[in-house]
């Protein structure tokens, strides 16, 4: 059967236990389904289809919850992954400090050119905050990784974070394609970039603010 999409990106959620990785993937809303059958088994991964500048992009997003107690994610999980969300909890200092360890783990196990992004989750819990936004930003600058604070509970910035990561992967791929085939790739790629910024989010992104 013909391929019905332009890109397929495998993404991972990584970080200490309890930072909210599962909530980012699994929408814990107040409705009745969460006490139902699905929540007792848990979600392994989700497939999301997004529109990125006119291209149909499939995201396969994996939760690594349950693996992290080994303080490392096995190579098998990293295999083929093109983007990694590094998640810490702004109310948990230790989870923030461990981001550096996770980055080291990624460097040792994942593909060298994997795109990364840091998420400071639970930013709705202002009273319990232990890690300031500035420290998050500083860490991101240090590693030259994009950073955003999120609240999975309030669906704040979660979807836009995935769009940002996906867009960065796509840009990297197009750059590679262009480098290997300068003449052929030119026509489409430049046009795409021109309207990248003002692109309005659709579907699941519509619930949250832009970066």
């Amino acid at each position: 059967m013909a391929k019905t999409y332009d890109y397929l990106f495998k993404l991972l959620l990584i970080g200490d236990s309890g930072v909210g990785k599962t909530s980012i993937l699994f929408r814990f809303s107040e409705d009745a389904f969460n006490i139902s059958f699905i929540s007792t088994i848990g979600i392994d991964f989700k497939i999301r289809t997004i529109d990125l500048d006119g291209k149909k992009v499939k995201l396969q997003i994996w939760d690594t919850a349950g693996q992290e107690r080994f303080r490392t994610i096995t190579t098998a999980y990293y295999r083929g992954s093109m983007g990694i969300m590094l998640v810490y909890d702004v109310t948990n200092e230790k989870s923030f400090e461990n981001i550096k360890n996770w980055i080291r783990n990624i460097e040792e196990n994942a593909s060298a050119d994997v795109e990364k992004m840091i998420l400071g989750n639970k930013c709705d819990l202002e009273a319990k905050r232990q890690v300031s936004k500035e420290r998050g930003e500083q860490l991101a600058v240090e590693y030259q990784i994009k950073f955003i604070e999120t609240s999975a509970k309030d669906s704040l910035n979660v979807e836009s974070a995935f769009y940002t990561l996906a867009r960065d992967i796509k840009a990297k791929m197009e750059k590679k394609q262009e480098a290997s085939n300068p003449a052929g790739a030119r026509s489409g790629a430049h046009q795409i970039r021109a309207n990248e910024q003002q692109r309005k989010p659709t579907s699941w992104l519509s619930r949250c603010s832009l970066l």
Binding site: M1, T4, R27, S36, I38, I41, G42, I43, D44, K46
Partner: protein, 128 residues
Amino acid sequence: MSEVENKVVPVESEEKDYVEDGKNKLIVKCKFCGSKILDKKSAKYITLEKELPLMQQDNNRKEGEIQNESVNEFYHVENMYTFENIGFTHTVANCKYLSCADCDAGPVGYYDMETKHSYVAISRIVHA
């Protein structure tokens, strides 16, 4: 869970108004939140008998008990990337259950680990 166990029920698929050329004529959406699960004409209509856990389990049921019902109309999806938006649960007895990617309602179907094919229960979705 394997396909061998699934009894094929002979039903004339041509009679269904949501089936065209053996495929889903319309977009498949979540019954509860409207999240798009499948694009139109992306999955094959099939009939087979399969026990699926109820989407809403009775809170007063015995501990550990799972309430099932028999479902016999499905959309057959050979490649998981055909899905627009879908969740896959952790594996239970060689199968993963499918859930809505937006509201987590489910199971809306199942994924067979052996064949790597997915089956969306038509009684648990809406067409649009």
